[in-house]
Amino acid sequence: MAGLDDRQLLERCRLRDRAAMEEFYHRYSDTVYRLAWSILRNNDDAEEAVQDIFVKVYNSLDQFQSRSKITTWLYTVTRNQCLDFYRSRDRYRSHYVSNMDPIDSTGDRMDNFTGAGLTPDQEHSEREIRLKIIEAIKQLPTEYREAVYLKEIETLSYEEIAEIQGCRMGTVKSRLFRAREMLQDLLRDFYEEFKER
């Protein structure tokens, strides 16, 4: 199954071939999960969203137009599903107001951080940096966070991000610029303090 291209894989998924569906899941679950996480800022919610998204995707493969890229379609489905998820739980506003404890929301991922080859002190510092960055990212508005994720992690172009976010390229450019400025402001003190050590 790994040798099949996306189009062949989708054809088999349409026929409910379990092996193909599993391969499709392994190919795209990380991407979908990371985008969901960047919007929802919570592992449990992101996993729940990923489950809903894949069920939805498998049920609506007939609607996929082969003209566009499968990833673009998946990003769009993920984005819509996550925003619905947000609204349905009425969390949108409370997330903006409250600063969630990053250990609560990403604790399991942080526990996976082994810090191989680092001394305990370095490992502690590295962990501290990560938590601080997660906290800073979480404070960005949803659209900014999403744009940062699509650019930095998925390395998409402005044009592709604009298509997914349903806005103009100029807006994407501004969002990324403002997100970087905000991150710089949020992390300035922390980095200066860290360098002094």
């Binding site: 679950s29 049920n59 610029f177 970087r180 980095y191």
Partner: protein, 153 residues
């Protein structure tokens, strides 16, 4: 001068993303070589890029696929459009109201000729000619028949 630096900073962001080409790319590269503040910002942003890459979790838990398949297996079979339409409870209230109103209207229109026929038939049974206007032929000023009989007596 703050807004000038802000302009360059915005260009710097696009430069970092590899979105500049041609003259704008050359201009920014030239500016960076000359501006220490921009060099500093660029370095910081590069650090953030690396940090963000290391921070975002890699993927969902391994047993999630089994959960997805379980969801798909327990889902009811997908219905066709007509089957779906037949399931009245799936229709939203507005659709139901509109379709009910249309149905009643269609019923009234289709029943109108039948009702008309029923009216005509009733008149025929009672021995009345529907073409005659009884209200105008009836002479209300004339004496009632039973009074005439009494006078004769």
């Amino acid at each position: 001068m703050k807004w000038v630096h802000r302009y360059w900073k915005k260009q710097l962001s696009a430069y970092l993303d590899g979105e500049l080409q041609g003259k704008s790319l050359q201009r920014v590269e030239f500016h960076i070589s000359d501006c220490q503040k921009c060099q500093h910002d660029l370095e910081i942003w590069k650090q953030y890029r690396l940090s963000v890459k290391n921070t975002i979790p890699q993927g969902p838990s391994r047993d999630l696929f089994a959960g997805i398949m379980n969801c798909l297996d327990t889902q009811p079979a997908k219905l066709s459009f007509w089957e779906d339409l037949w399931m009245w409870h799936r229709l939203p209230p507005v659709t139901l109201t509109v379709s009910s109103a249309l149905l009643v209207l269609a019923l009234v229109i289709s029943l109108q000729p039948i009702m008309k026929n029923i009216g005509t038939n009733t008149e025929t049974i009672l021995g009345q000619d529907s073409t005659v206007d009884y209200s105008t032929t009836l002479d209300l000023s004339a004496e009632p028949a039973y009074l005439l009989v009494n006078e004769d007596v």
